[in-house]
């Protein structure tokens, strides 16, 4: 299948890529930028939430509760106030996220066994609010279990009553629930779908703008050779970028690579087929490079949002969940996350691999047909 005509186009394509600093920067710098942005900034692990305390009790018992919160890493006890107005002001100004109010009769009611504290949360940032809420509940629960135990000991009973139901959790694959482990494989999917489709679409449209494509058609080159020659350089670049992200993700962020390298290459190649197909397709719909860019974006943006990269598909409305089945990136994200983090074999991801093959063949086939038709 390899002949001089395809080789000539590939060589020319690389010459052009290496001569254009903007394209080169986009290819090399973009993945690194995305990687660090999503590896650091887009973390959903909430820590060090600022907390304000209004301790009306000021007893040994209330201080013990505060110690329990302090110990839980998630909160920093920044402010101590003496009225509702004060903590309200702090929450309004955003200086604090959470206010903990301990009532004056806390120590007495504690002995009676029905102590209550008030937790006021700033819900304007849903992520922080949700984490603060669940953590505060956990801290409270753990603390009351401890107290119950201590009281039981004091009252002379030897057996410590446990909570009626205890849920023991085991987190597999990513015990610290490090969100970088989730995001960085996603970056590979995003880069592969964005950069390769934008580059292919613009490089083909540029030939049309310059009139060089017409000159190529009057040569004996066949249209499949032209397509192969134009796309293969971007397949190679796609693999280089995948390797780049994997290596930085592994060495810098500690993302594990547990699955087989061969499977990663194979499935990434299958996914590239879809995204290059989208690029090729977009090129047939555009007359200028700007139009090509916009067309690719039009395809890619909804895909990214519906792929499960940012938002879990399970949390989407039923309709959007169905739509997401039509998005190749969805399958690739499942595959690459499973391969890297879980280290699964082909059997665990076979249905996703089949989906990628089907999408790849259909998209690439349709795009090639449209491309050929556009040449006539």
């Amino acid at each position: 299948m390899f002949n001089s005509r395809i080789f000539s186009i590939i060589r020319k394509e690389f010459l052009q890529i290496f001569r254009d600093p903007r394209t080169l920067a986009m290819i090399i710098i973009m993945p690194i930028m995305q990687l660090f942005l999503l590896g650091y900034a887009a973390t959903t692990d909430v820590k060090n939430i600022s907390m304000t305390v209004w301790d009306q009790s000021q007893t040994a018992q209330s201080r013990a509760l505060l110690d329990a919160f302090r110990a839980a890493d998630y909160f920093t006890l920044d402010y101590s106030v003496g009225s509702q107005e004060e903590y309200q002001k702090l929450i309004e100004s955003g200086d604090t996220r959470v206010a903990l109010v301990i009532p004056p009769d806390y120590d007495r009611r504690m002995i009676e066994g029905d102590a209550q504290v008030l937790m006021v949360l700033d819900g304007s940032d849903a992520t922080v609010g949700a984490t603060a809420l669940s953590t505060a509940r956990l801290v409270g629960q753990a603390y009351s279990t401890k107290i119950l135990g201590e009281q039981a000991l004091l009252s002379g009973r030897s057996k410590v009553p446990a909570a009626p139901v205890e849920v023991r959790t085991q987190v597999w694959y990513n015990p610290d629930l490090n969100s970088a482990f989730f995001n960085i494989p996603g970056v590979i999917g995003m880069i592969l779908s964005f950069i390769t489709s934008i580059l292919t679409a613009t490089t083909i449209v540029r030939e049309r703008e310059r009139g060089t494509i017409e000159q190529l058609i009057v040569t004996p080159i066949r249209s499949w050779e032209l397509i192969a020659g134009k796309l293969l350089p971007y397949v190679i670049l796609g693999f280089i970028e995948t390797a780049e992200i994997l290596l930085i993700g592994h060495w810098w962020f500690g993302v594990p690579i547990r699955g087989s390298g061969g499977l990663i290459v194979l499935t990434s190649g299958l996914f590239l087929m879809s995204s290059l197909g989208i690029g090729l397709f977009a090129s047939t719909m555009a007359n200028t490079q700007q139009e090509a860019m916009m067309t690719v974006m039009m395809f890619n943006l909804p895909m990214i949002f519906l792929s499960g990269f940012f938002f879990p598909i399970a949390a989407m409305p039923k309709f959007l969940q169905i739509v997401s089945y039509a998005i190749p990136l969805r399958y690739y994200l499942i595959i690459i996350r499973s391969l890297l983090i879980k280290g699964v074999g082909i059997v665990a991801i076979q249905s996703e691999v089949i989906a990628l093959v089907v999408f790849g063949v259909v998209i690439m086939g349709a795009a090639s047909l449209r491309f050929r038709k556009r040449l006539d």
């Binding site: 005509r5 000539s8 009139g211 004996p220 006539d376």
Partner: protein, 309 residues
């Protein structure tokens, strides 16, 4: 007699209701330089695109180098060169890289042949210049080189000289003659009349129809049957008015400092065509001072304008 390089029979192309090329017929012999003349939208480019197999004819047939344009376009493309109005050059590549690339697409990987093409179009010394920094004239030559890299027997040039300065145009035509001498058949579209004069035969197209095709001399003889007069008179505008209204005058045009008058063909031996004396007396009668009236030579522009009427 050798086989013609191009044979076109009733070739037609319609775009919806618009007939871009309307049942045209012609033949081109080996080694000829054919000028294809016509205004924009007259069907010149459409004809070339059909001959290259880029467009399917709606009707009629054509062969190029003995191959059917519709069924054997690949055979044709291997043996034919094409240079389009937009010079199909990669701006971010050097001259040599452009030629090497197109050579490779034709399966030519021999450096000596690429170098030969480079020298043929006079680009040696500019091998490593980025084409974006070349002048239009040089870009035109590179574009021709790209069309020639596989040493075609037939060359289609679609308005190759638009936007190029007169000196570069002249040099370009020298190159075309050089190619023709080496046996390459050339079909070149243009709307420069002076360029058409350089061609061995000229085809005139308008509204998709081939109005005439012959040598420039024969065209002038057969189309301009009357006489051509150059009238130096004052005031010119009034002279133009008077002569246009005159019986037996086919067309009057301003030509710089004088008027060009083309008389109609004499219908009978007795009724002579409009002559020097009749014009002189009519102009004087209307109060126009006549400096001199001389015989002129018909030009291709006269031919074109007569046909286009």
């Amino acid at each position: 007699m050798t086989e013609p390089v191009i044979v076109v029979e009733n070739l037609t192309r319609k775009f919806g209701n618009f007939v871009a090329v309307d049942h045209i017929n012609f033949e081109v012999q080996p080694g000829e330089v054919i000028g294809y003349l016509g205004p924009n939208g007259s069907g010149k480019t459409t004809t070339i695109r059909m001959l290259l197999g880029l467009l399917k004819p709606s009707d009629g047939k054509a062969t190029v180098l003995g191959y059917d344009v519709f069924k054997q376009s690949e055979e044709i493309r291997m043996r034919v060169g094409y240079m389009s109005q937009k010079f199909a050059i990669y701006d971010d590549l050097t001259t040599l890289e452009n030629l090497t690339f197109y050579g490779g697409v034709y399966g030519i990987n021999d450096k000596a042949r690429i170098q030969h093409t480079l020298e043929l179009v006079g680009l040696n010394g500019h091998e490593n210049t980025l084409t974006s920094s070349l002048s239009t004239g040089w870009r035109q030559r590179l574009s021709l080189g790209i069309a020639l890299v596989h040493e075609p027997k037939l060359l289609f040039l679609d308005e190759p000289t638009s936007g190029v300065d007169p000196t570069a145009r002249r040099l370009f035509w020298d190159l075309i003659y050089q190619l023709a001498e080496s046996g390459v058949t050339i079909l070149v579209t243009t709307h420069y009349m002076d360029e058409a004069e350089y061609c061995e035969r000229v085809a005139v197209m308008r509204d998709g129809k081939l109005l005439a095709m012959d040598t420039p001399t024969n065209l002038k003889k057969s189309i301009i049957t009357g006489d051509v007069w150059e009238v130096f008179a004052h005031p010119l505008e009034k002279g133009l008015e008077v002569l246009t209204a005159m019986d037996g005058v086919e067309r009057v045009g301003l030509a710089g400092d004088h008027l060009r008058v083309i008389s109609s063909r004499a219908r009978t031996e007795q009724s002579r065509s409009v002559g020097k004396d009749t014009m002189q007396s009519l102009l004087s009668e209307k109060g126009i001072s006549v400096e001199k009236i001389e015989r002129g030579e018909p030009t291709l522009e006269d031919v074109f304008l007569s046909l286009a009427r």
